[in-house]
């Protein structure tokens, strides 16, 4: 039976995998292309954005579609996982009220689910790389490490949001605006160079800038990320995770009274 003391028990792992498989089934049930959409979607998105930004703004970037798809998919991973995690506690209210269960599994599951989706969308990225004949370098082996950083960061934010939104539902509305603003505040469509100096220095405080840059370095430009880069990315993820985890643990006992 339930061993509630350890977060990473076999039992909690079974709950996590069950929930992920539920989300997976629900997402693709009744669609003709099914799981293929996870690949197709970022690809089509890239085409639209490429069309828009190539004809309207014209940035001088080599392999612009690849530049774009690398940034947008990674950002979508963070955006979707935090948004979904945010609602996970409220959505599972009937369960929380009735069954003794590790509550942090709900936001965690959403993040894991989005990570799996992201891995599928990497197929689209691979297709684009093949199209532009960008050869993968040994630096691509850093990808799991980056995903680990992003996972820490997204989970931390997800924990924080899911706990706070129980008490203040406004956050749910606010967060979609924040995500949109954040999309434009991160160099996803444009090069860093078009920004004025003060904005470039401000960008150092944007974790997503670091993660996106890291990804482009290893996948597009074939640059080995420096130790400093790794440390920054890890530290940002770890700090956010720590804050999110602590806040969640502090508030979770009161969830049942508010969901």
């Amino acid at each position: 039976m339930a061993n509630q003391t350890k977060l990473f028990s076999k039992h909690n792992w079974f709950i996590l995998t069950s929930l992920v498989s539920k989300d997976f089934k629900l997402k693709y049930r009744r669609s003709a292309l099914g799981m293929f959409w996870s690949v197709l979607n970022p690809f089509l998105m890239m085409c639209v954005l490429t069309a828009v930004f190539s004809f309207m703004f014209r940035f001088d970037i080599e392999y612009y579609p690849l530049y774009l798809i690398l940034g947008t998919t990674l950002f979508t991973l963070m955006g979707d996982s935090t948004s979904n995690a945010m609602n996970s506690i409220i959505d599972s209210a009937p369960l929380i009220k009735k069954i003794r269960i590790e509550k942090i599994l709900f936001p965690l599951e959403k993040v894991v689910f989005q990570l799996i989706n992201y891995c599928l969308s990497l197929i689209a990225v691979a297709v684009v790389m093949i199209f532009f004949q960008v050869a993968p370098t040994i630096n691509l082996l850093f990808l799991p490490l980056l995903l680990f950083y992003v996972l820490l960061f997204s989970a931390g934010l997800g924990f924080l949001l899911s706990a706070l939104v129980v008490f203040f539902r406004d956050i749910a509305h606010l967060w979609s605006v924040v995500i949109t603003a954040w999309t434009y505040a991160t160099p996803l469509f444009y090069p860093m160079s078009i920004l004025p100096d003060w904005m470039q220095s401000l960008m150092n405080f944007n974790p997503m800038y670091h993660y996106v840059t890291y990804l482009r370095d290893i996948a597009l430009w074939g640059i080995t990320p420096s130790l400093e880069q790794n440390l920054i990315c890890f530290a940002m993820g770890a700090v956010v995770l720590a804050i999110g985890y602590l806040v969640f643990r502090k508030l979770e006992k009161k969830f049942i009274l508010y969901v």
């Binding site: 039976m1 039992h11 406004d170």
Partner: protein, 606 residues
């Protein structure tokens, strides 16, 4: 009279705890001094803005709500423990604390072993998924391992009887099937402690029996400790050995299931003052067995049947061989007929507007009545009925004509003078529809030959009635129901002695009227009649029955402890000259428990 809308809070005093000498058994659940306090914000604050504003205004106040207050209980291995209480009494909160979903504000709750909570089955089902997928998902959420579910998958499917539909989305299932799956998953495991929260009330009869069998087998074959929440005392008595009764978060009683259920059935969920409750409680606990002979129940299939039975018991007592006939479909006209029967010193029989019920016809034929008085022409009693009466009896038929209630009132008044012994010096005024109060006053109306007058809209009397009162036929008026003070004052000024009786509820008015009648020197002889406030149409012809034997009638509200306590008190006070308690009403209204209580009180006081 107005219906009682204000809810009196159920009692919260502690009744008793029975000590169980079972310390040697292993303790499975130990709840000690648990309190659960919810801070209810006086305003609902659901947004940051509202929160900020109220902090700025320093108006963020909370109201404390105690869902549980210092509740303690011990459940031993093998116990089947019932938790009883009305809705909102804190049962579910207690279960949630035991299940570990909720942390108590104060106190501790220790559970020894695994718990399978059957709290609201099917939480965590996803209607888009198939039954197969849901079994695995729900199993995972309930804490089963994948191997365990694999192993017991067939067992679950067989119990739920869903094999042909396994791969169909749950949304296509009937709610009964969903309940079956949920129950099957939840009880496939053999837990140390099983918590059952009114799950047995879902699903159809067959399924309920199946569930109960499963729970019984867990109890009997596997020695599972069970906690059952219910407000059905029969179910608790059937399944449990111990029980706790909580009301508004307070422990009322802990004891054996039989003990608690017995008291819960009499007191549980009924509102009333502490004095009422202790009176009822004391009567209930008195060891005296009620005298079966002192209880009479008059019930029948409808109001006409009951009226015929009442008639058969009254007619031999009446001084004249006349019969008053009224329509049972119009309560006010039949109340007038009661008053007329009083003046005529005869008995009353009810018919329908368009036909004569069989029982009434049989009863009428068996009497040798010489005169019939039909109260009301159309729309009260149709001509067809009069013709039919003429066919079946030899008696002279007098029609007390009147097409409206006001006309009928005056006709009845005149008929009393023309055919009967006239009227007394007291008149009763009330409004159309005030049935219960008039019924309660019947002993007085019959004994004093008091005529009945109905007010018209705006609490006025018709001109004819005003003129009649101006002749000073009467020197006393009794106003029943909330007639306006203007009217009362008007007659007070004209040196009438006016008594205005208004109760907060039917049962309360019944008490006031009975107290007043006692003050007037009337005393119940031999018998007290009890009828339900919900069954007034069963006692529409009670006047002659009461009047001819000098009995009193009490209207009982079975929801109110005060009402029952008042009747018990009255019976105790007058026990010396009471032989019998008569309950009137069809089978659905008579509460066996209350009958036993009143009979017990009578026996005890004698």
């Amino acid at each position: 009279m107005s219906k009682n809308n204000e809810q009196i809070a159920p009692n919260q005093t502690y009744l008793k705890t029975t000590e169980f000498n079972d310390d040697q058994l292993e303790t499975m659940i130990e709840v000690s001094h648990v309190s659960m306090i919810f801070n209810m914000a006086t305003e609902q604050l659901h947004s940051l803005k509202e929160y900020a504003i109220s902090i700025a205004r320093r108006k963020l106040s909370f109201k404390e709500f105690r869902a549980l207050d210092d509740v303690s209980l011990t459940v031993k291995r093998g116990d089947v423990f019932g938790v009883m209480g009305t809705n909102g009494s804190g049962k579910s909160t207690l279960l949630k604390i035991i299940a570990g979903v909720l942390d108590p504000t104060k106190g501790t709750c220790e559970v020894n072993g695994t718990i399978a909570p059957l709290i609201e089955l099917g939480a965590g089902f996803d209607i888009e998924l198939t039954a197969r997928e849901n079994i695995y998902l729900n199993g995972a959420l309930l804490g089963y391992s994948k191997e365990f579910i694999n192993e017991h998958f067939d067992e679950i499917v067989n119990f739920a009887e869903i094999r042909p539909f396994l791969d169909m989305p749950l949304k296509n299932y009937s709610s009964g099937m969903v309940a079956r799956i949920a129950f099957a998953i939840a009880t496939v495991i053999i837990p140390d402690v099983l918590i059952v929260d009114e799950v047995l009330s879902v699903g159809d009869f067959m399924f309920q029996q199946k569930c109960e069998r499963r729970i019984r087998s867990l109890i009997r074959d596997h020695g599972v400790t069970v906690l059952i929440v219910s407000h059905n005392s029969d179910q608790v008595e059937r399944l449990c050995n111990k029980a706790i009764w909580i009301e508004k978060g307070h422990t009322r009683m802990i004891g054996t299931a039989e003990e608690v259920c017995e008291i819960y059935r009499s007191i549980g969920g009924r509102a009333g003052s502490e004095e009422s409750e202790s009176l009822v409680y004391n009567v209930m606990n008195s060891p005296i067995a009620p005298d079966e002979e002192s209880v009479q129940v008059i019930s029948g299939k409808d109001r006409y049947d009951i009226a015929s039975q009442l008639f058969e018991q009254s007619f031999p007592l009446s001084k004249k061989t006349s019969v008053v006939i009224a329509s049972g479909e119009d309560a006010s006209s039949s109340l007038l007929a009661n008053a007329l029967a009083g003046s005529l010193e005869s008995a009353l029989l009810l018919v329908k507007h368009g036909s004569i019920p069989e029982e009434a016809l049989n009863t009428l034929e068996s009497t040798q009545a010489s005169e019939l008085f039909v109260v009301g022409s159309d729309p009260f009693v149709s001509e067809g009925v009069v013709k039919e009466l003429a066919l079946h009896t030899e008696a002279t038929i007098n029609i007390v004509a009147g097409n409206t209630l006001q006309e009928l009132t005056l006709s009845v008044y005149r008929a009393g003078i023309d055919y009967g012994s006239g009227w007394g010096d007291t008149a009763v005024i009330t409004y159309d529809g005030c049935i219960g109060d008039v019924v309660s006053l019947m002993p007085f109306i019959y004994a004093n030959k008091a005529p009945l007058f109905f007010s018209v809209a705006n609490n006025q009397l018709t001109e004819e009635v005003s003129d009649l009162f101006a002749t000073k036929q009467f020197n006393r008026l009794i106003s029943l129901g909330g007639l306006s003070f203007d009217l009362i004052d008007h007659y007070k000024e004209q040196s009438f002695e006016v008594t205005r009786i208004v109760g907060s509820s039917l049962a309360d008015a019944s008490r006031m009227i009975n107290e007043w009648q006692t003050e007037q020197g009337l005393a119940p002889k031999d018998e007290v009649v009890v009828a339900s406030v919900w069954g007034l149409h069963d006692v529409l012809s009670i006047g002659a029955y009461l009047g001819l034997r000098g009995a009193f009638i009490w209207l009982e509200d079975s929801q109110s402890l005060d009402s029952i306590a008042n009747i018990l008190g009255f019976v105790q006070d007058h026990a010396a000259h009471l032989d019998q308690v008569t309950f009137i009403g069809d089978d659905t209204r008579s509460n066996k428990n209350d009958q036993q209580l009143i009979a017990k009180a009578l026996k005890a006081a004698r």
